[in-house]
């Protein structure tokens, strides 16, 4: 009966979405502003019931649902049984719908406090997007189909009709082995979805503003907070994905320029550009049209990302699912792109930016450079990701585009971005006289170069690492310089330097949150540079009792081992690690086997050290011995830490201005 409950939830949510679109549009066009709240509540309640039904089915092992039979097993432990709800296509769209309903409900709460036409129009757009996704769940990607033909460990045929004759298998197939191997996989998708779906909010305000012919900064101010929230979650989602890959996938890397990784990076890059260019419009009224283009692109890219992830058309380690949903998502993408840009064109006369830039060497100029770099970056990723498909479509030839291509273009772009991240905050608005620029950058430049020299003398003489250190320290020093300068001018400075500094930060959290995010990006860049250039790699075939010395540690192969737990069996090699004769750790690189699935998931083990992890991956285990790969990735944890700091900066920026009091920041460092 959970099928019926879930289907009813989806139907209510669909009904609510239709009502919301209709009522929202009536309210936006100046008719009665009623019925919005019940509609939005119905969407949220319906989505929550659907998710609840799915969770209940998973927890109670209700294999009468085809989704549960095909993606869950009674032996799947907590929390992976809960996470199975978004481990495959149909379930993950429930999560998508629920998050969308949540964002809609938060928009509604704000709208109820101060109803106006723009808010109503934005809600109507949210409703329209929700109509698409809930309709999707009731048609091509129905998570509540009942199983009508059971096979051993799964379901061969299913029906969307909840009262169809049920034939439930005794046991389910269980989730994809890769997905139940690490806790991070349970939280990475929800984070990413909060980011993806959150980007619907600025899109909804933008389309609402365009439809009503109300450009200006209102839509930007109203959607700012949601944009920052979504962007922060997207950041966390991407970093967690990299962390998961590093911990679980045996290649020991964290980013492979895989199409699906790229799918999450593209909206992040364009959303980052949007956060910056929105600031220019709020401050100086420039880039109105450009902001619409960016926000529409972000939303389109999130749909493209879903398409790439969920249609299974691009082969990659992420293509867990294949389904007929591809054409439908592609059609939606086409409607979004064509519809949005047609609307944009029809309103083009309203959105021209009045003021022009005074001088390119100014804060505005640095934002322009930043937008050019970020959108170019996204363009490079988009080209590299879709090029093989396009070439194959037109000529039938197969070309491979991979990490070396992306690195060749992304590395210089990243260095240029780092440089701009340092220069931007020290440049005043309108015009930066050369003398002022010199005065503000000479100190940071000296500190940065000194840090580079220190690195070269003590750590490494690899050019890429040193360049990263120099630029990274330059960014940190420039921001700190601005902070120190403002703290000195703070009226209450006699109460102490620290207090004055805190006061400066508190007075403009948007700006200083952004600077913290910049610092996080610097940490990520350092982590990438060190891990990529200073790592070591060795391979060894060992018999019990053999030892190898790697990265200052001695590894002794004790014995192979076998272990089994419900639904999972493990075979691996037990190693003792010593350093200078004293015991450090026991490592167990292994392969995990889930249920009846014959494919083992290689599970490396790591010795976590402050300077960087030593990774041991088992390649083969047989009578002749064990083949092991040893890797070090020095300071790789800086990437995860940096990612957290970037998102933390977003959180601080978000608390900056309360809703409704979004006057332009007067305190921004434009001295």
């Amino acid at each position: 009966m959970l099928s019926l409950l879930g289907t009813l939830g989806l139907l209510s949510a669909l009904l609510g979405s239709v009502l919301l679109t209709w009522r929202g549009w009536l309210a936006a066009t100046g008719h009665t502003d009623r019925g919005l709240a019940p509609a939005a509540r119905l969407v949220l309640a319906g989505a929550a019931v659907a998710m609840g039904a799915m969770q209940l089915a998973l927890i109670t092992d209700d294999f009468s649902l085809a989704y549960v039979a095909n993606h869950h097993a009674s032996t799947t432990p907590f929390p992976f049984n809960v996470a199975t709800a978004w481990a495959a296509l149909e379930g993950s769209i429930i999560l998508w719908g629920l998050v969308l309903a949540g964002f809609t409900w938060m928009m509604l709460r704000r709208h109820s406090r101060s109803p106006d036409r723009l808010g109503a129009a934005a809600l109507a757009v949210m409703g329209a997007v929700a109509v698409f996704f809930f309709a999707l769940m009731l048609t091509v990607a129905n998570p509540f189909e009942v199983c009508t033909e059971a096979i051993a460990n799964g379901c061969a045929a299913s029906s969307p009709w909840p009262f169809a004759a049920v034939q439930a298998p005794l046991e389910g197939r269980g989730p994809n082995p890769l997905l139940q191997n690490h806790l991070l996989m349970a939280i990475h998708p929800p984070m990413l979805y909060l980011g993806y779906v959150g980007m619907t909010v600025p899109f909804a305000y933008a389309i609402g503003a365009l439809a009503l012919g109300l450009p200006g900064v209102d839509w930007l101010r109203r959607s700012h907070r949601s944009t920052v929230v979504a962007w922060s979650f997207l950041t966390v989602g991407i970093v967690l994905g990299g962390w998961w890959a590093y911990e679980v996938l045996s290649w020991g890397g964290y980013w492979a320029w895989d199409p699906v990784e790229n799918a999450s990076l593209m909206p992040w890059l364009v959303a980052t550009a949007f956060l910056h260019s929105a600031l220019v419009q709020r401050r100086r009224g420039m880039l109105q049209a450009w902001n619409f283009v960016l926000v529409i692109s972000v939303f389109a890219l999130t749909i493209l990302g879903t398409f790439l992830t969920r249609s299974g058309t691009i082969q990659s380690v992420h293509s867990f699912t294949q389904s007929a949903i591809g054409p439908v998502l592609l059609g939606f993408l086409l409607v979004v792109v064509v519809g949005s840009f047609a609307l944009f064109s029809a309103r083009a006369h309203l959105v021209g930016s009045t003021p022009r830039i005074d001088h390119l060497v100014s804060r505005e100029g640095s934002f322009l450079a930043n937008n050019l770099l970020l959108t170019l970056y996204a363009f490079v990723v988009l080209t590299g990701t879709t090029y093989p498909l396009v070439v194959e479509a037109f000529s039938g030839a197969r070309v491979g585009v991979g990490a070396p291509f992306f690195n060749r273009l992304a590395v210089p772009l990243s260095f240029a971005l780092l440089l701009m991240m340092g220069l931007g905050p020290v440049l005043p608005w309108r015009l930066a006289p050369p003398r002022l620029l010199w005065l503000r950058t000479r100190g940071p430049a000296v500190i940065a170069l000194a840090a580079g020299l220190l690195t070269a003398l003590t750590v490494t003489r690899i050019g890429w690492v040193i360049l990263t250190v120099v630029l990274g320290v330059f960014v940190l020093a420039c921001s700190s310089g601005v902070l120190a300068e403002q703290a000195r001018r703070q009226p209450g400075r006699h109460e102490g330097r620290l207090r004055a500094t805190l006061e400066v930060i508190r007075s403009d959290r948007g700006f200083w949150g952004g600077q913290l995010s910049h610092a996080g990006v610097v940490l990520v860049a350092l982590g990438i540079a060190f891990a990529a250039n200073l790592g070591a790699h060795a391979e060894a075939v060992m018999s019990p009792g053999d030892t190898v010395v790697f990265a200052g540690h001695t590894f002794i192969y004790e014995s192979p081992f076998q272990r089994s737990a419900p639904g999972k069996s493990t075979s691996g090699a037990r190693l003792t690690v010593t350093e200078d004769g004293s015991f450090r750790a026991t490592l167990e690189p292994s392969a995990n086997y889930f249920g009846a699935d014959p494919t083992g998931v290689s599970t490396p083990d790591a010795l976590h050290l402050p300077g960087g992890d030593i990774y041991v991956t088992m390649l083969r285990l047989d009578a002749a011995g064990v083949t092991l790969v040893f890797d070090t990735s020095p300071l790789i944890w800086l990437i995860w830490l940096g990612g957290g700091v970037v998102a933390g900066g977003g959180a601080i920026a978000m608390t900056g201005r309360r809703a409704g009091t979004m006057a332009p920041a007067r305190q921004t460092a434009d001295v």
Binding site: A289, T313, Q322, G326, F341, H349, R356, V401, I466
Partner: protein, 338 residues
Amino acid sequence: MSERLRDTVYLVFMTITVVALAALVLAAPDRDDRVQELGSRIRCPVCEGEAIIDSPAPMARDMMKLIRQRVDEGASDEEILSEITSSYSGAVLLDPPAEGATLWLWLAPLLALAGGISVILWWRAHPGGTPGSAKSATPSSPRRRSRAIAGGLLVTLVLGAVVVAAGSALQDREGPGGGAADLDSVDPSLVSNETMEAVIGANQDDPSIDGMRLALAERYFRAGDYRSAFPHYLAIAQSGTAADETAHTALVRLGWMAYDGNGEVETALELLDQALDIDAGSPMALYLKGLVLWCGADRPEEAGDLFQAVLDQADLEDETRTEVSDDLAAARRGEGCA
């Protein structure tokens, strides 16, 4: 300290550090990581999107071993890469060359950069000049408005065309019953002939099977088993859906087998001519046709012309060149073929 002096101190310090850093970096010992670098540029043919350096698959380890061996033997990067692409096709390159089908991959970002910069400069130089700018264009200015709409539509159309193209590419790749996706990831060198026969038999109608068919037929051909190779080459030649390169190879092989196996000179020449219709400059087809004419039809003059055409090709391997020139000389002297 005066401002001027202070500036000088900063500048001097910066210059010294930059020079010192440059010296340290340039004097650093070369990292001997050609093996790793090459390994990261080649996709593991049996995995999904992984470079061979990152992959634990046996095939990737073997390819790494080969690279290490060739580097030790002193082969250049180009030599190693071309050896690998000739055995595994160009699709294994993760950074494809800036030529042919992949030229636009490298050009597009450069053009985008140029475009972006020119748009910024143009925008700055033309206050109110953009279509849709509110400064000089009032909403009621119909000309500007229609121009703006036309521009927007154009952008939309282009975007739409790109999306549609991408979409149809994706549709094509799905293949019947998802079988195609599985086929791509099968590495022929690890699979027995019997398995390949079974897979091919089960996917007769799937055009994407041609690659595997060719691989299997080549296996038989190299082993001298013309009888087993023949039906596969024939199927490719008759399929009509095979890529030109594949069909060409099949026709060349069929032609040679007709002559070498059955002594059918006329059939052989006909098949080789068909192959030359696809690729008129193919050294292999030209050479084999020459051999058939010379040895089978006793027409050494025509054979000589064909050998000459082979030698006119710029990118011949030295060994082939020597062999063909020897044959050419013999044919020109009117000797019988050896």
